[in-house]
Symmetry: C2
Amino acid sequence: MKRTPVRLADGRELIYFDERDDADRTAPDERELPPPPPASQLRYDPLLDEWIAVATHRQNRTFLPPSDQCPLCPSRPGRPSEIPAQDYDVVVFENRFPSFSHRFEASQGWLDDGLVSLRPGGGRCEVVCFTSDHNASFVNLSPERVRTVVEVWADRTVALSEIEGVEQVFCFENRGPEIGVTLHHPHGQIYAYPFITPRTRQMLRSARRHAERTGRNLFADLLAAERRGERVIAYNEYWTAFVPAAARWPYEVHIYPHRQVPDIPALSDAERDAFGPLYLEILRRFDALFGVPMPYVAAWHQAPVHTDRDLAYLHLELFSNRRAPDRLKYLAGSESAMGVFINDVRPELAARQLREAL
Amino acid sequence: MKRTPVRLADGRELIYFDERDDADRTAPDERELPPPPPASQLRYDPLLDEWIAVATHRQNRTFLPPSDQCPLCPSRPGRPSEIPAQDYDVVVFENRFPSFSHRFEASQGWLDDGLVSLRPGGGRCEVVCFTSDHNASFVNLSPERVRTVVEVWADRTVALSEIEGVEQVFCFENRGPEIGVTLHHPHGQIYAYPFITPRTRQMLRSARRHAERTGRNLFADLLAAERRGERVIAYNEYWTAFVPAAARWPYEVHIYPHRQVPDIPALSDAERDAFGPLYLEILRRFDALFGVPMPYVAAWHQAPVHTDRDLAYLHLELFSNRRAPDRLKYLAGSESAMGVFINDVRPELAARQLREAL
């Protein structure tokens, strides 16, 4: 894989990841762009003990543009996009409308008589274009391309972990307008957070308690139990995909490597090779379920950068908000206000439907 | 207010709350109905330390029926609905598709080698019809009707708190198909949970820490600070409505009584009288913001039934997922997978827009 970093017109970094060594990456970004917006402001919620990012510049971000104005397609003569080259394999660049960024003036403060702490949303947000084909989707990628994407995720996890203040690197894909995607071109995102996220913090708290009580790893124990159970969808020598016993979403699949590793960079070559075929099969099953493309979030859970790396266990959580061919699951009162999920589909049934979908 | 409990054809309870004393509530439910479905199954997620409700019968619940088949309208000759009478003021009945119910066979169990605990979803789910007018909305209710609804919430909170195993009573309204509402007729819901919900648990944990450190109540301190700040939308002698400093949603308003009370039944008559006019003003401001009805969740945060009633502080949290006239806020990767909210609208701007909306 050939790795070529360049700079866009406004100073943002873009990196070409090429599967061949002969790609020419000298095309300049010929646009005139305003300077990138500053980082968001983080505000601490003292009731829920969480940080909220206030990113007002994102309100004007590009929203479902016509396909001939797609900013993630390669540039064409007279039609420059975010990617200066006229073709690419996989490309990563700093998000033009980032929630977290290193571009901030150091500023701390307080609101509400010192109850609400403020600080800059340091970190970084990147966009990952999986293919130059506007009309493709992750599920259409070749296993070789997925292998390249795994390599890119590993590269970016290492690089973003080295940024001062970054505590967690989150690689994910939102797919489908039903889940809020604002650009159709197949792409994922990477958030480098300046704190450990609430859900990761809670998972690690549970894992720590389990380790103290049993001496074992909670994630590993759950995986072992699931592998013996009735909710496995597919597996190979290195990975297992299953619907978890306490799934929150109507269709939710977790994919674990059999070996406990903290993050994507820690995966062996054999594990990296084996991921794509299994994941592509799961995505095909998702789309086959109702015969329409499933909206989904695919979320890599990686260890924090500096703490609890021995407790964490890399895994991918994939879930859809579609509960029937013509119906979506909404996070309304119980979920959004109280944090209590009501799942309309029995996880054992969801697993059987996904097994039988192909 | 006259209170008349009756039974529906399948044994579920329905209660008429009438503003006059002469209403005739003898009309029988003439439908033939199957027995109500059993309660959901609760599954414990050992990673996130939360209970999930698996309620498979809800998959077939009534979904946006045509208005002449609305189950929440009064019955008409030849067209029986959930409400046997031909008119009503406010009516409450057991949800036909409940997430929590007393109808369960006692059963406990385990999945995943004892890591995932199972138990029946005991409790109760009720529907509250605010008016017999199908085309109205909460914002159209008279202050007198809102006063009746407050009385009904108080009545139901007392009654549901007495059910064995119920730990928290949650009165809420989801409004608008954009947030997942499946029936247009103006109505709210009440969930009586058999556990303390994750968000309430976290708020009380924060309040306990604050009390130990300062001897004061965290909610009261936040309210006092907000009342001196720039995010107040409206207030009267007994209540203040403000956008919180660390708002998660583009448009989010919290309404607190000035006196710390654990729940709606603890409100004085004067506090109950003063709520409606203020809340209706906030809802009018919501709808005026973009000139279209705002989808919203309105969630009453009440104290748990048995614990921490001295720490809790009754308040209403109102939020919308609309961020612009033609755009919704989605809970995608960062929010759904990691629990990190990105808010595109600065809370001070949201407060100003809401103040200027009328």
